[in-house]
Symmetry: C2
Subunit: 110 residues, 2 copies
DNA sequence: AATATTTATCGTAATATTGCAATATATAAA
DNA sequence: TTTATATATTGCAATATTACGATAAATATT
């Protein structure tokens, strides 16, 4: 098979899974790291920072963009990529909620 | 190829990617949701909660366990699964740091 | 011991992901 | 207009993931 049964799960579960999946590759984590490090948003040199060929980097950027984690706008011949704060906020809140739930339960059985 | 160039990235990047990857499937998000919902840690009925066959659920549980997101101990004939707070804490801190970095930069260019 | 119950593992088919060379596209500079 | 530069797309090979039937393993119950 290899085909996720997306339609059998809730929209919220699918959305969270999609964002997480987009972060599920070291290259994409490295891209985010780099975007945070540089001062400017013009990020044409991401390719030089990563140990991957240009088409591969382009593909990873596309996936991050599709998942809503980064935003990109054309700036002449370069592309301006930056992090979409909203997506990070969503994830942070999700994990905050989990931690809050765990505190409330106070069951430490395992 | 299909083979991630793990060795070309930092340990931290790989670790974050691994945890994120483990969350990158709606079934695994649903499992976490259920673990938070139930009061007891004995979770033998996860299979009945999910729209997937027992071997598939078992496989997803294994992945969550390998990534350190859940912990499981044998309780007689059943297995006691629960969330590993530490893993969630790691993720939360990661996103907290990102948000904090974004605030500091205050560049809203895209 | 025999049976039931619960979870794990194996094997396998279908699909997805990763990575890159080659090429296309699109703008900037000469 | 030609050339250089930057990014995207296509096509493809290698590997990974998803899902499940069949079966194994391990304990509880009778």
């Amino acid at each position: 098979m290899g085909l996720t049964k997306t339609q059998h799960f809730t929209t919220q579960h699918n959305e969270l899974a999609n964002i997480s999946k987009a972060l599920g590759h070291p290259a994409r984590i490295a891209i985010i790291d780099y975007l945070l490090k540089v001062d400017t948003c013009i990020c044409g040199d991401i390719v030089n920072e990563l140990p991957l060929a240009q088409p591969t980097v382009s593909q990873h950027l596309k996936e991050l963009k599709n998942a809503g984690i980064i935003k990109g706008t054309i700036e002449g011949t370069a592309i301006c990529y930056c992090i979409n704060e909203k997506a990070i906020e969503t994830l942070k809140q999700y994990f905050d909620t989990i931690l809050w739930s765990l505190e409330k339960k106070k069951i430490q059985c395992c």
